[in-house]
């Protein structure tokens, strides 16, 4: 089965999977097996967070995910244009599905609402021990940091700030944040970009050029 899987061209995969040949059941089985092997490899070798799971548990996860991935591949067959290897395209679909599933499971107790419920909305960017010596320089740095703090408070909507804090500061996956905000990844990208653009514009209007700030935070 493995040798036959390796021999199919993109066109053969498509024809077989679409039922244009008599090899459809075999193609489906081959693809499912391929995806399952890929996912089992990924889960068992590349995910340190799953180390406590038994071989059987990992195998079951790979089986379940490969079934879901196969369905998604079949549903999207007509979008495949042959610009990559079909099997790599299918693997990408499978690995993204697996990673999304794992992210959802990991962050199932996470709530964007809880992030703001704990206290201040704004980050407290306090001066650090890395500040250059001298009272004038220290005052300047404190002033800059105060302006940055104010920028977060005044330039952003609450939605923008929560998204920025979750993704950029907390490292919460975008898929998780997007789901909680009732949006999608593409829209979240744009939301974050708008937030960043507003912050930069605000800070520049306060007399803080981008280059200056970038040097400040090296």
């Amino acid at each position: 089965m493995t040798d036959r899987v390796g021999e199919r061209t993109n066109e053969a995969w498509l024809a077989d999977l679409r039922g244009e040949t008599s090899a459809q059941p075999e193609a489906l089985a081959d693809l499912r097996e391929r995806l399952q092997r890929s996912l089992l490899y990924y889960l068992s070798q590349e995910r340190s967070d799953l180390r406590d799971l038994s071989s059987q548990e990992l195998a079951q996860m790979a089986e379940d995910l490969s079934q879901d991935a196969l369905i998604r591949v079949i549903d999207n067959l007509n979008t495949f244009r042959g610009e990559s290897l079909f099997t790599t395209w299918a693997n990408r679909i499978a690995v993204r599905l697996a990673i999304s599933d794992l992210r959802r499971a990991r962050y199932k107790d996470f709530s964007l609402d809880d992030m703001t419920a704990e206290g201040d909305l704004m980050p407290n960017l306090s001066p650090t021990s890395e500040l250059p010596p001298g009272p004038e320089a220290a005052t300047e740095r404190s002033d800059v940091i105060e302006k940055i703090n104010r920028a977060f408070e005044e330039a952003l909507t609450e939605r923008q700030y929560r998204a920025l804090e979750a993704v950029a500061l907390q490292g919460i996956p975008m898929d998780v944040v997007a789901a909680q905000m009732g949006t999608n990844r593409n829209a979240l990208y744009k939301l974050l970009h708008d937030a960043r653009r507003k912050l930069r514009s605000y800070l520049e209007a306060q007399g803080l050029p981008i280059d200056y700030m970038m040097n400040l935070f090296q």
């Binding site: 679409r18 039922g19 244009e20 459809q24 059941p25 489906l28 089985a29 499912r32 399952q36 092997r37 890929s38 089992l40 490899y41 990924y42 070798q45 590349e46 071989s55 059987q56 990992l58 195998a59 790979a62 998604r72 079949i74 999207n76 067959l77 979008t79 495949f80 042959g82 610009e83 990559s84 290897l85 790599t88 395209w89 693997n91 990408r92 690995v95 993204r96 990673i99 992030m115 703001t116 201040d120 909305l121 980050p123 960017l125 306090s126 021990s129 940055i148 804090e165 950029a168 500061l169 907390q170 996956p173 593409n186 990208y189 970009h193 960043r196 930069r200 970038m214 400040l216 935070f217």
Partner: protein, 118 residues
């Protein structure tokens, strides 16, 4: 709400000031079935460097960690496949009474509609 320490202050401002926003790259990333990224992954898995192939995407995944995780995972799988290191699932085949039913459903999804075969 967590407060910034030195490290995450830098992280936050670095992101605010430097993270790229390339719409074409973002469009690629948001598509599960992006063939361009699949093709990149194939080439990187064979030893080519992403920064040489598509520097915009390399820059993108430096700041957008989800994308990096997904790309690195795909490359890891492809490298393992090339090296013959993918595990044999036959060994782990669990008894699943639903497998047969699920396979039938999948086959029905991929079958062409009746009019196409006439």
């Amino acid at each position: 709400m967590s407060r910034c320490n030195d490290n995450n202050r830098k992280q936050l401002m670095d992101f605010v000031l430097k993270a790229p926003f390339d719409e074409s790259v973002i469009d690629m990333d948001c598509k599960d079935g992006c063939e361009q990224i699949s093709h990149l992954a194939d080439r990187v898995a064979r030893g080519e460097k992403l920064e040489d192939l598509l520097p915009e995407y390399e820059e993108h995944i430096q700041y957008w960690h989800d994308c990096r995780e997904e790309f690195d995972a795909l490359v890891a799988i492809l490298r393992a496949e090339q090296a013959g290191q993918l595990p044999d699932v036959a060994i782990f085949e669990p008894a699943d009474p639903l497998s047969g039913q699920q396979n039938k459903e999948i086959q029905q999804r991929s079958d062409p509609p009746p009019s196409a075969t006439q």
